[in-house]
């Protein structure tokens, strides 16, 4: 029961609609495929349906219509608990467990999967090294004893601990100061290239989208505008894409002055 299989796309949305009980549609007729090893950015303004899309993948939400396929298999056929253990998840405030040490936080999924204690310990060390937090200094700290950037690193280490083939990230660097954010973005990009995970990454920051994405899916008011490569995005004709591109030029213009 591992979401890796040789067949098909890593992830696919087929005509997916999600409605609230009040019948308001947060997402309409989404069709989207993510190839294995790709970093797909879900870009859009607040309320465009990015986070909803993400939460449909690990079944925190269930689609009202349509079907989502994970490793070629319908999401609704997966046991949600098993599915989630095979999908890493990182959110803006990291969502670390404040009553657990860094070590225990990172060990979460291996622990749930009943790994041998020795193997868990070794894996936690490896993960902390991977995200640049020396285990000797950080393993026993509580989340309250970390900076925002360090917490986010632990969040990434926790998500990667059981080596899931898919990683979901919801504005993971959104709450960080710009210098720390740039640092984490750089490190994350090289990490993503090395680990070859399928990543779905939500952001409203167009620079981040261009820097990290291999593909960019632009969402607006619950609909997919289009999917672009980073190069295509800047030359796109759609007004929603141009608005994002224009915001980028404005920022660049201010820097030049």
């Amino acid at each position: 029961m591992n979401p890796v299989s040789d067949a098909g796309e890593a992830l696919e949305f087929s005509n997916v609609t999600f409605r609230l009980p009040s019948a308001v549609a947060l997402l309409s007729n989404l069709n989207l495929a993510v190839a294995r090893g790709e970093t797909l950015i879900l870009l859009g303004r607040s309320g465009s349906g990015k986070t909803t899309t993400l939460r449909l993948i690990n079944r925190l939400l269930e689609p009202s219509e349509g079907e989502i396929f994970i490793a070629g298999r319908a999401a609704r056929d997966w046991n949600p608990i098993q599915l989630r253990r095979g999908i890493g998840y990182v959110i803006q405030d990291a969502g670390l467990f404040p009553h657990w040490s860094v070590e225990r936080n990172v060990a979460l999924v291996p622990h749930l999967e009943n790994w041998e204690p020795e193997r868990i310990r070794a894996r936690v060390k490896e993960m902390l090294d991977l995200v640049g937090l020396p285990p000797a200094d950080f393993a026993l700290r509580k989340p309250s004893e970390l900076s925002g950037g360090q917490r986010q690193r632990v969040g990434v280490a926790r998500a990667l601990a059981a080596d899931p083939p898919i990683l979901l990230m919801d504005e993971p660097f959104g709450a960080l100061d710009p210098v720390t954010r740039a640092e984490l973005q750089r490190e994350f990009r090289s990490l993503a290239a090395r680990l070859k995970k399928t990543i779905v990454f939500v952001t409203h920051d167009v620079r981040e989208a261009l820097f990290l994405g291999t593909k960019i899916a632009l969402l607006s008011q619950g609909r997919l505008v289009n999917i672009y490569s980073p190069e295509e995005f800047l030359r796109a004709a759609e007004p929603e894409a141009r608005a994002f591109a224009a915001s980028l030029q404005m920022a660049n213009g201010e820097e030049a002055r």
Binding site: G95, H99, L112
Partner: protein, 210 residues
């Protein structure tokens, strides 16, 4: 003869009544916890029902304790004169703070933390036991602390329906118009409440500082 001399001279009975008093409180708290904690957990995600149940528990709380003891006497099974009726009434009083704090404690746990727990593949039971309850523990304990202190006080009235406890001295003293006898019941009861409050406060602070 001062009240203190009276206390010393009657230490055997004071001790026996104190033990009786603690027994009533402990039995009532055990029942209130056995009902209140699971019920509180069950009500967390049922907002409408929660309002109703907390409302009813609130009304129970407003019934004067002497009246509640009286009301329960004719009730079959639990009623009658004696300790069992008193324990039921005390448990009813202790229920509200336990219920309320269980609900508010769990609802107060950071939503991002609970979402992470679910998204990482914890089962609902694991989320409850490993995340929600430990993080809500200080608030839960605050409720237990309030309930215990209230119970120790209200238990003095249980003597009115023949349940025993330190209230025996108080009622006897009132009947005899003798303050020394009243104080022989009131002072140990007050000390008991202060001690319970202090001890549970210590535990609560330790949980909160984790």
């Amino acid at each position: 003869m001062s009240w203190f001399d009276f206390l010393v001279r009657n230490r055997d009975e004071v001790l026996a009544r104190t033990v009786e008093h603690i027994g009533l409180v402990a039995a009532a708290m055990a029942i209130a916890l056995a009902i209140g904690l699971p019920l509180g957990v069950a009500l967390v995600r049922r907002r409408n029902l929660q309002r109703w149940v907390l409302g009813i528990a609130n009304v129970v709380q407003t019934i004067p304790s002497l009246a509640l003891f009286g009301f329960l006497i004719p009730v079959p099974w639990i009623g009658g004169v004696g300790a069992s009726t008193a324990i039921v009434a005390l448990a009813l009083y202790a229920l509200l703070p336990i219920l309320r704090n269980t609900c508010t404690g769990i609802m107060g746990v950071d939503a991002a933390v609970v979402e992470s727990a679910r998204a990482m593949g914890m089962t609902p039971r694991q989320v409850l036991w490993q995340v929600e309850l430990p993080l809500a523990a200080p608030v839960l304990l605050a409720g237990i602390r309030v309930a215990t202190v209230i119970s120790i006080g209200v238990t003095t009235i249980a003597a009115a329906i023949g349940a025993g406890g330190l209230g025996v001295f108080i009622f006897r003293g009132v009947a005899m118009v003798n303050n020394k006898v009243i104080l022989a019941g009131a002072i140990p009861a007050a000390l008991l409440a202060v001690f319970a409050d202090f001890a549970l406060g210590l535990v609560q602070r330790r949980l909160a500082s984790r």
